[in-house]
């Protein structure tokens, strides 16, 4: 077996790698905390905007181009600029945590935004007309027809965002924060390639596990009627 692979497996199998304040378990929790907070903040921004754009059809061109353009922003660059701008203005750890959060929120907004407005737009036109015909107001149509109809695409936007967040949250370690990125940064600094590779594997596994979890949530949350309709198509 390749030497690095063997050392990586040894590192993963060593109980000392998992426990303690710098262990995989604690680092994974830190990683998840930062990831979920970022997803929440991004969703609070992107879902309402996406619903509004999808429902009214207004400023659609802006949302489309913004979602595309923001994807091109390099996360590492945003992190450096945000840290250097915020260091003189904030005290303590917040000066590092806020920039990391900003980076991940910026990263997560495009997939959630486009999933949301696309979902609303894709709602069955016949269902929307029927709702209007029944005398529902615009807000009622949005709440009772469009949001439930858009839910599968909103959730897939959230899932896509979360995959990217978990992968990218490793860069928080560059500015001294915790999370699984510590294994990559510290491993590289001390030329401990087994630790780097092991840490990268843990990130990948965590990302897939959370993705499956969100898929399960989606299955429970989406109206069974929609699922059947999707299958029928």
């Amino acid at each position: 077996m390749n030497e690095t692979v063997r050392l990586t497996l040894e590192w993963l199998a060593d109980p000392a790698s998992w426990t303690g304040p710098g262990g995989i378990l604690v680092r994974s929790l830190e990683h998840l905390r930062l990831s979920f907070v970022s997803l929440l903040v991004a969703a609070l921004v992107a879902v309402p905007v996406g619903l509004w754009v999808g429902h009214t059809g207004r400023l659609r061109w802006l949302a489309v181009n913004l979602a595309g353009g923001v994807r091109a922003i390099p996360s590492l660059g945003v992190l450096f600029v945000a840290v250097l701008l915020l260091l003189p203005r904030l005290r303590g750890d917040l000066a590092f945590e806020l920039p990391a959060l900003i980076v991940l929120v910026v990263l997560a907004i495009p997939p959630i935004l486009s999933g949301t407005y696309a979902g609303v737009e894709a709602t069955d036109a016949a269902a929307r007309d029927a709702a209007r015909g029944m005398g529902m107001t615009g807000a009622q149509v949005l709440r009772q027809v469009e949001i439930p109809g858009a839910l599968p695409l909103i959730l897939s936007g959230l899932r896509a965002a979360m995959l990217q967040i978990i992968g990218t949250a490793t860069i928080a370690a560059i500015v001294g924060l915790g999370g699984l990125g510590r294994f990559l940064i510290d491993g590289q600094a001390s030329r401990d390639y087994a630790q780097m590779a092991g840490g990268a594997l843990v990130v990948a596994v965590l990302a897939l596990a959370v993705d499956q979890l969100l898929a399960l949530v989606g299955r429970l949350a989406v109206s069974p009627g929609l699922r059947l309709a999707a299958r029928a198509q």
């Binding site: 450096f80 840290v83 250097l84 003189p88 000066a95 590092f96 370690a173 001294g176 510290d186 600094a189």
Partner: protein, 315 residues
Amino acid sequence: MRRTSVPVLSLALGAALTLSACGGGGDPLDAGSRSGSQDAGTSSEAAAGTGDGEVIVGSANFPENVLLAEIYAAALDDAGVEVTKRLNIGSREAYMAGLEDGSINLIPEYTGGLATFLNPEIDVTSSEEVLADAQANLPEGLQLLDISAAEDKDSLVVTGETADELGLTSIADLKGKEGDLVLGGPPEFETRPNGVDGLKEVYGLEFGEFRSLAAGSNLTVQALKNGQVDAANIFTTDPAIQENGFVVLEDPESLFAAQNVVPLISSDVVNPAVEEALNAVSAALTTENLTAMMVEVVSEGQDPAQVARAFVDGI
């Protein structure tokens, strides 16, 4: 507040550009730039008088080493030695190969870095011992001339206010006060023997927290300046130390290995004129004047060749 963010931002962008430019520059060993000695006539006459031909000065790929190479080149030029410059070669691995195959034959070195490169097991830290160790392990055909007092080495740095407040002049003064302090530095500082572990073993210091800052010394400097860390691991010649009034804590127990600047040269090109010129440079160099020159080069953007020329003229 607002004004400070502009240079900070440009530094960050500059760092990012430098990073992204890595690997694009071609091989400096191929295209040596000629030191245009205007008075070529007198130079070659003098060179003829002292024996043989030209000295090819190389440098590593960071600004301070380039500056030092320019200083050597200027001093040799004044001594009537024909000089060619091949600067910005790369890491020690790259330029040591160049020294051995003769594509360069002089480079500014640092005793500790060189000694560790030649003997990874080295466990001495004082200037004399480190120099002796490096000399003992030098490849055949290479030699070190006089070392200078100038050192570019790891150090523990605090802000002027912290130094006043806690009465710090030496690392040892931190004893008993470090529990509430945050130490910052590159991630490798946490694990290597003369980092966090060494501070504990040699000085009995256990900082409240270690914050690992992987984005270069600029981030560490900003974090120290703005109070996110209270003490930081920064190189002694970092221009930020002078600019921000930071205090470099003395290291009475030599935790950080000596890194005296020293000319590493092929024995082939050593003659009395070369030796005298380079030893005069070493005698004049100090950490302070090297740092001051680094401020001119890095912060003020002056041409290293001109800064070097002014320094050599002042010797």
